[in-house]
Symmetry: C2
Subunit: 273 residues, 2 copies
């Protein structure tokens, strides 16, 4: 048993979709969220920069007493997880592996599609994670760099979004994948246009898969919070949000991702920001 | 006369399109370029953050002996120019005003469209710059946040790009603008799809307008470099590029923008990066 909070970091506020999933599965846990909005996005930065930023984020969350670190950022999970695990004593979970396990469990043919940002796909992190668990599976990756700006523009059913989805996903459909892993926080919001191209196959939402695995891990390591939500005072805080920059519309977008009001938001400075 | 270099900064490498224009008009000038690639894009950051980053960039260029500062970044020019002009002794030119002057000179009806990133448009900087020079003009702004990722994806003539351009620009066409100002480094690459929507009107490329005005200013202040290119040793360096982060594909994209090979590229650290 452990009353300390779970620490979650992301390059921005997209990781709040993961907080939302974790809240559903683990309603008794306190959460500290760190969004490195001053340096987002990580996907266009160098591997060295992403590793440095990820270390600074983890140090911050550990200094605030986090009992478990969740890397909600796909770019960080792709390139920094191994290094962070060596450097820090606290257990750490990335957003890559849980989705990989679930996709392998669902796929019958072993032909699995993965979509993500350019860095996530070209880093080869998904390919590596799949092959480590199942050497025979066939992984078809596709970078979809326009999906994030389309979601942020709110064009979830614009004709252009459908055309772009078709350009990105038709090759995966033609290669007869039977499972598609949505490897980016924003992509579940595009599930309707995606489904129109790739059809009636299995879809894995990496954020949900992460929430499920985190719950199992907390139980296994006996790190669950014994104080249930019902026993708390109503005013007690559950989610504390730190951002390295407060942009004009962070609250609007953030609350859409989180699915509840954003309270307890502070701007903080990391070493290098 | 002054042999010192011109200092140019941008949030990334998009500003190299401005370097290209300046090189055409001022072939004798040395250039130091600073791209703050570790913190790009600025357009999604807060005004306070953009001002802080812009000050650090200017300090760096001044410390390297820049005789004139060019702000190639639209977000910085929108929100930080006035503050930088007060804080630094070196003359500074932003990318907003030269385009505004040229658009006003070209427009007959005074109905002028301006397109740019979300921050550039919503900051109201263009509106303010236009009204300061001509109180009677009518300015129609439109944020086009998907244009930059489309250009970076290389989809200059994809059907989705045409659809997106239509969604963004049709209202400007219907309002009968007679001049359209392209207020973002990337947009001139989309001129063909833009022209298909807004038709046979006058277009202003803000980068070219800036180059023309900078040449006039150097002459006026007697800051031109007296040493012509022909008299130099062939090995002498003309453009020195500093980036705060080196991403995977910066060279490919950068050389497309610059129109020549990128030599003398170094990674540097600013105070806050």
């Amino acid at each position: 048993m452990n009353k300390d909070p779970i620490g979650i970091f992301d390059s921005g506020i997209g990781g709040l979709t993961i907080v939302k999933e974790i809240r559903k599965i683990l309603p008794n846990e306190d959460i500290i969220y760190l969004g490195d909005t001053a340096r987002l996005p990580y996907g266009t930065k160098s591997v060295e920069a992403i590793i440095q930023f990820s270390q600074e984020n983890t140090e911050f969350l550990v200094s605030r007493g986090a009992k478990y670190i969740v890397i909600a950022c796909y770019s960080s999970s792709s390139v920094a997880l191994d290094i962070l695990e060596k450097k820090f004593d606290v257990p750490i979970i990335g957003v890559i592996k849980p989705g990989v396990k679930q996709a392998l469990a669902l796929s019958k043919t072993g032909k699995i599609g993965v979509i993500g940002t350019t860095l996530t796909i070209y880093s080869g992190a998904y390919e590596k994670a799949f092959k480590a668990l199942d050497r025979k599976c066939e992984i078809l990756g596709r970078a979809c760099p326009l999906f994030v700006p389309l979601v942020e523009e709110g064009w979830l059913d614009h004709p252009a979004t459908a055309l772009i989805a078709e350009t990105y996903l038709k090759p995966l459909k033609e290669d007869n994948i039977d499972t598609l892993l949505l490897g980016c926080t924003h992509y579940p919001l595009l599930i309707n246009v995606i489904r129109k191209v790739t059809g009636d196959i299995d879809y894995v939402d990496a954020s949900k898969a992460l929430g499920t695995e985190l719950a199992q891990e907390l139980k296994r390591l006996d790190l669950e919070n014994p104080i249930s939500q019902e026993k708390r005072r109503p005013s007690s805080s559950k989610i504390t949000i730190y951002l390295t920059d407060l942009s004009i519309n962070f609250k609007d977008i953030g609350e859409r991702f989180l699915g509840e009001p954003m309270k307890n938001v502070s701007r903080i400075s990391l070493k290098g920001v």
